[in-house]
Subunit: 322 residues, 6 copies
């Protein structure tokens, strides 16, 4: 890592920083060694500069060394949508397990960034109705659903503007905006925190439960505080899906990006989407099996932890220790 | 190679030996260099320890460097079944060539290990009837066929017990056991030695011929002594398939394991099985063509030798000599 | 490059030259670095010798390091046909764009080598009628079309003979031969120069235009002189397709050969052909879009230049500069 | 680094730990990269195990990768004596600068380990008189000096015994032992703390000054607390030499070990000793020049800091920044 | 090479250019591969930046990869003086061969840069008398000789000023300055062109010969035009020494710099100087022997060519051809 | 190794074989890995071809990778004389131990090749008198000693002629030749077998003992059969020196060649000779000490074995085991 802050830096400064950083990093990574990916503050612009320097020094087009690449040098289709799509696919598996389905279900969603965008897009495609998005300025309630192409595309536009406000959506589409509030007071079938770590504390949890929400699906990285999560787990009638499993779609498509790089091929969006879908089905299934194996019923939180631990532990034991 | 005997060694000793061995071997192998695979005495446990040390030293997850891996770190589905399945696929090609088919055919099989298990499983699936298995203690005759899931799974259990006796099968399923005898006296359509090198001598060959067996399919590595093979080849009315071609399924799926590793993907069992099937069809076809090209008729032994030699010779000549 | 002339050299001398050349070249190439391919004077024999030496020195079977390989060590099916097939696929896209199709169309083709052979084979397969081929000695006019397997195969035979005359075709199939003339006087729907650089000068261009030819499809590398190309572009009613796009099929299948090498698989001819077809469709489509984006209408020459430039420029900018 | 404690571990455990440690470390070091050396807890036994594993994995006899090696695989003569000898050479330069010399000078020395041993040996050789050594149990006062071979060799024996007591010396040679006291009350010309960090606090400093000691020579790593050092610096008539410069002999001979490894030669003890001597002369001279350049007079503490900083800063600036 | 002009560039721009250049160059050089050195426009500043980037990318302190380094990171003493000193040593060998010596000999020298400075310094040290230097503005005649430390040091000062005028010397030391003239009209024993290529044309040669100069010693790279050289060679009574041999001292000390880097040692100025001296003696001796072997007498021009050619040819033949 | 016989091969064939051999070998050797040297059938011609190919493939001038090189690319002076000189230096140490010296001592020498030449040259230089040489055709007895430059140089000439006869010496210098006899019947002070393995059997040993020879110095590799060696060891009054120690000079100067390569320097003949001399003194001394340590007296055979074993065992133990 580094303590460089890109705030207020020119494109040239960003580029030179990325190049200097990679000049040291390049010897520690590789398509078969460690494969960094973008994250907060490291978007496609930075990935491009980083990969360019890696290529320059290594004198090789080993584009599997990094993921989140632009399409012109080995990126994957569906990479931006991956986390959102994956979360919805996982949710559908939960529905299926409960003999339920997504048709007409309402969703409260926090955030309006990349993840929320992907979530809305896929929910809409499959017949669900996302009714909220939120930002640092408050939340929007769109009872007709964020389901038209125009609305969904507008999320991208809002994000690109850099203004970091979701009131713009309310203004544009004439729907109510609730300043400085979170969307969890809205009565929905599914609550999907998609914004940030710890956004759901005890208070929000109580609200969600009080609303009679049936599905609590974590999408952001660990969006629930420990006490809130305990409350959810102790409450009957609400199913909890942990972010660890739900948001695996991003990492999954990073892996598929690497597969395409290895094959020197680019898959169509449909191929990537299908593989992502299958991966999310498998993740849900493995969690279910793991929880059942230890007599824990349909406990997705425990199941994800157990399945993850067993996989790593088995691989370690099989490969020997020092 | 090494002269280390794993007999009586603890898991820790086995692990340390594998690690020490790989510490020297690692510099001579690689996914594009030489790719070792398990064999007698080197099962999945050893492969895991070997690969773990390779990964540790090379600091890279180059799992195509070795085959026969566990599923948790890059192994292939259908790898255990590969040799047996491949042998049956090849046999079906022989039937097809003779305008014959597997439906209702009886098979005498020696051995009860991994290969025999795969053979029985696939024969049963395709409608044939394996009626014998054998061990160092004698052979079992099961006239109803080793065709139920229970019976086939029991072969694995017998092998895992480490007792190395096949009488257990007779005891469990109430079928006759013939102590200290080989199964070649049983009248069947197809004789399939699946146990060890040189298990078919002149005496066994005469017995098989006398039984009117129509197909002699070598599955174990070179199970037939030279004089016995001469006798088979000189006898009309019996078709001989050489182990060199018949048991190629194991190596074939090792190659498919490498392909999956290269692609950073895991194929489904169905995909692997289909590719294995196609490979066996091609092997049979190339042998047939090679024998015909030299006017030798439907001689699978000669065909396999010729096709193999031509392939290697052509590749060598094309790539130049010193 | 090198100034070695293979004329009059023995096989052994060719081999030793190729080995010496690769002994210096090998350190500058690699499957992820630079990947040479055959060209004029470097056929499959030379590729074999070059790859053999690379393998010997690198001690690795990295066959993605070079393309145009023989099938025994990693070459691709459809590689010989690739340029010709690709050119015809591209032409069909042009037809489609014009609401036209290949059925019954007549083609004047120059050359009778590898490219012309592939072009004829695919045209015939799709229902078109190639009516000429040419050589240094003149051209052949076969009004019934070079469409039977016998005729098409004979092109290979003529080429392999090393006599470099196309009169042989006329003699064999009893069709007219025009000594020392080029085929552009023949009235056809499509003119396809497939022989050499600059074979179409101002005079030939005028002839082609005068004939009412509707499609001028460059297949050879830059077969049109600058003034002739200007004339074509300024003439209404004739569509010009540039070699840069039309003959991309060769490079495309080189890429597919590398993909197969990376996957450690060999695709069937059908799989390669389909991928080639899709690639040519995409090339045409991108050219069309690029020309339209800049308001240039259906200008395939401009479109190919723009699309190519934009792709490279975008990749460069995204990956940063020094 | 690692948190492994060698206390109570068997030789085999120590060896396996060293091997496992090097299996990870080896990729980060090299004769031209980073060169680790022994330190507290990493003696010649550990260095041997570490180097053996490095050699095994790297398949190369690159013994310049580590220093403090045994003589059988590339260690240097005078390495054990280096810190002690270097300290005395430096002290002699101080004498020379003051128009003084070592003949007959008395030295109070703390510690009785490797460093104290080397110091005593060289002082004795050059005509000085070390009169104390100390341990955790107290100090020994030997007014005749630790100057005979028998006495000096006995220091090694005491250290090797593992008893960590210096009373043994008093018992053996019939000289006074002062339990639980430090040697700084003894009136000597030169005080040389050779034991541990911060062994000289304000109290000891006052004692040393009160004794009229003329030379305070730090040998252990930073043996003086900050307030004690301030007191020394503010006191006239006592010359202070900083450990940073005085104990550089160890690192210096590590460098000479690397030179011998690079040359594939072993120098005689005399050659190493002479080079060490010259290096210590240069270190003293550079400190003197650096202090003078900034008008600080004969201030060895400031001089060492300035000379070190300037050297590093100059090398960095000359080689450019990111 | 590159077409970057450092004129008018800032230090930062120079640095970034050097770093970008090395980012591409580094893979083609190495202490055992190719070893670049400074030249016109690449002084110690640039060498520092280049080496810094090499070190950064290679993650290794391989300072033998480049020569002309600063002393802080592996440069050699006597490197700046090397060409000048070497030229004088060679000249002394010529004297010795003629039973002559340097004592009291007068030298006309052109240029006042690094080479001329080294030449003057060594001539003065050995008892000769350099009486001229020159610049683009004319030449200085100092009949007392440029032999005091003050005068010799002033040459460096003049050069560092960047004014590129040698009149300053005349002004400072009160000696005659001849504007826009070259120094070859001065009657001296030895003429030593030390400035640039082709500075001695036919006219200058005639002048030198007319003056009765006995030794014509080329120091700059090929300072004599072809016709002028022919004239010298055809004239009796004047001995000609070719630059190829005379100015080898620079390359020679580059080699010694590499030796010191390999040994991880820095030699004293005396050690380097002695090795340089011996090398120049050997160069002269080998030229003499080579000319004599072919019956050409004391012809240093032919001798240098022959000796150089034979050395390269022998090494090539011994190491085999392709 | 290889089974290629150079008999009757042309220079070109030898060269191509060497190049092909190195193309495989190069990856297993290196200046720090394994360093091959010439031996029977691999002289300087072959070493040159081998090194040339290594350099070509590795793209690096790593001449320490092989020893016995020509002087033009890194060979060492005194390399041809090394074994012979070393043997005589060792012998002189034996004399010194016995309070004896070489002055006027007579030596019987077998062989007339490289080793015998070096032995004669050094003996003559130090004042001893070699009186025999031998070949496959018999032996020469030159009672005046092979001590003049003319005689010694003639040995090289005889060897270079390829006639493999030593009668030529007798003819040329008018001394007696004894056809088909070995030289051991001649009464001398020192017997030095310098020809081949097992040339001294029981019969020769008895003859040597009967002559009252005081020193039996093996120079060839293991020239004494086991029973003969037993006889020597059991006989009082004759000192036996084993080839293992005596002929170490060749390997020693190979090591010095590597040191020079590492330093990028060439030492003078005097420097190499002195280092060789010191090494032989040390070898003798270590053998003496090792034998004494185990109470075996002046037993050079046991001493060499013990010293060698201890050195290897110590290095192995210190560097850890698996």
């Amino acid at each position: 890592g580094s303590d460089f802050s890109p705030r207020g830096k020119s494109d040239g400064e960003i580029m030179r920083f990325c190049q200097a950083f990679m000049t040291e990093l390049y010897r520690h990574i590789g398509p078969n060694v460690d494969v960094p990916a973008g994250d907060i503050g490291v978007g496609s612009r930075e990935i491009g500069f980083l990969f360019g320097q890696y290529k320059r020094i290594s004198d090789a087009f080993e584009n599997g060394v990094i993921t989140g690449k632009g399409l012109s040098y080995g990126g994957s289709l569906i990479r931006p949508e991956a986390t959102g799509y994956g979360a919805v696919y996982y949710t559908c598996e939960v529905f299926k397990h409960q003999n339920d389905n997504i048709e007409g279900k309402t969703f409260a969603i926090s955030g309006f960034g990349n993840v929320a965008w992907g979530v809305c897009k896929k929910i809409a495609e499959l017949g669900g109705i996302p009714v909220t998005i939120s930002g640092p300025d408050g939340y929007v309630y769109d009872k007709d659903g964020i389901i038209t192409k125009e609305k969904i595309d507008y999320l991208l536009e809002m994000r690109a503007s850099g203004r970091d406000r979701c009131q713009d959506y309310a203004d544009k589409f004439g729907v109510p905006f609730f300043e400085n509030q979170k969307p969890w007071g809205v009565k929905v079938d599914v609550a999907m925190p998609c914004a940030t770590q710890n956004e759901i504390g005890l208070q929000e949890a109580k609200q969600i439960i009080a609303n009679g929400t049936k599905y609590y699906i974590e999408v952001a990285n660990m969006p629930t505080t420990e006490d809130a999560l305990d409350l959810f787990m102790d409450t009957e009638g609400i199913i909890v899906a942990p972010s660890k499993a739900v948001n695996a779609g991003g990492v999954c498509v990073s892996g598929l990006e690497m597969s395409q790089n290895s094959q020197r091929l680019s898959w169509t969006a449909e191929e990537v989407d299908e593989k992502l879908h299958n991966a999310m089905i498998a993740i849900h299934k493995n969690s279910v099996k793991a929880a059942e194996k230890y007599g824990l019923g349909y406990n997705l939180v425990a199941g994800a932890n157990i399945a993850g631990f067993e996989k790593v532990a088995e691989a370690m034991m099989e490969q020997g220790i020092y």
